[in-house]
Amino acid sequence: MAFIPSRIKKHDTNPGKVKLNLTSMMDMFTIILVFLLKTYSTEGMLIQPSEYLTLPKSNIEQSPEVALDLVISKEWIMVNHEPVIKTAEVEQLNSFIIPSLQEKLNVYAREAKRMEELYGTKFSGKVTIQGDRSIAYKLLVKVMATCGKSSYPNMRLVVYRIGD
């Protein structure tokens, strides 16, 4: 049996304004906004982690700064996103100095020193080293020794910060 509308409703042609209840949505937005403002960092990403590697984790609190970017992935060693030498070749190498990497770093150092003369941007010899967490110690030491010999003695090892 069909539902018979009541007599009052039958003639109710104007059901009144239908209002959208926005209060709960506002609540949600406010929470999201506060959360995002809290995580917001004015520094931005100074170091773009390379996509070819997984950085190690550390509990250090020091923040990164802008410097020459050196990446040691499982396959390649890259300076400023340009591949320089294969990691496997470096492991075969019988000395602490990696010649092709040293050459590349010297090019950058010369460029930076020229900039220092021309524009007064200080050359601090800083380099950030992004290493995959599974690379061997001997490889890291070779790269660091090469950096030290190629006027980049101030090294920063890039890590994921955990804990805080």
Binding site: N59, Q62, P64, I135, M144, G148
Partner: protein, 178 residues
């Protein structure tokens, strides 16, 4: 005589809703903006400064001056555990010739024990030696980078009773001659 306020007026209070549309507009703009600029992973750096122009065979800095008493603390990472040594002695473990801090039973490194041992050394060395901030970390050639970083973490500081104690934050790396 004053009029009595009408009952009808007071009871039929109209619902006044604030106009939320401008606020919504603001939210719709702000949230994508903040979402796109949010930093989801935090990145840190470990500083390692070498004295410029080091020799070929050493990564560690210049020869220490002999005028002051130096501790020369060193941690050696091997695949069996940590060896601790200083200018005075090499710390022995309970086993003969084993590492100072052997690995845990499941083969992982015992970072907590290392930090506690270093705290002990720090407490007894403070005031007696001039280099109680420095530590040399060396490792076997095939030691993993993550292990090295974790070792640096344990040698940097330790949390005792909710308080951070700085151990040896000035890290140098050393390697053997190839």
């Amino acid at each position: 005589m004053a009029f009595r306020p009408s009952f009808r007026r007071t009871t039929a209070g109209e619902d006044i809703e604030p106009n939320l549309t401008p606020v919504m507009n603001l939210m719709v703009v702000l949230i994508p903006l903040l979402l796109s600029s949010a930093q989801w992973i935090k990145i840190g750096v470990i500083e390692l400064n070498l004295p410029p122009a080091v020799g070929t065979k050493t990564v560690v800095g210049a020869a220490p001056k002999e005028t002051e008493k130096k501790l020369d603390l060193a941690v050696t990472i091997t695949d069996r555990g940590f060896y601790l040594s200083s200018s005075q002695a090499i710390l022995k473990s309970s086993e003969n010739n084993g590492p100072t801090i052997p690995n845990l039973a499941d083969g992982s490194y015992d970072y907590d024990a290392l930090a506690n041992k270093l705290l002990e050394i720090k407490q007894s060395a403070t005031g007696r030696y001039s280099d109680t901030e420095r530590i040399v970390i060396q490792a076997e050639p095939d030691i993993n980078y993550q292990v090295l970083v974790s070792t640096m973490d344990s040698s940097r500081k330790i949390v005792v009773d909710g308080r951070e104690v700085i151990l040896f934050p000035d890290v140098s790396l050393a390697a053997g001659v190839i």
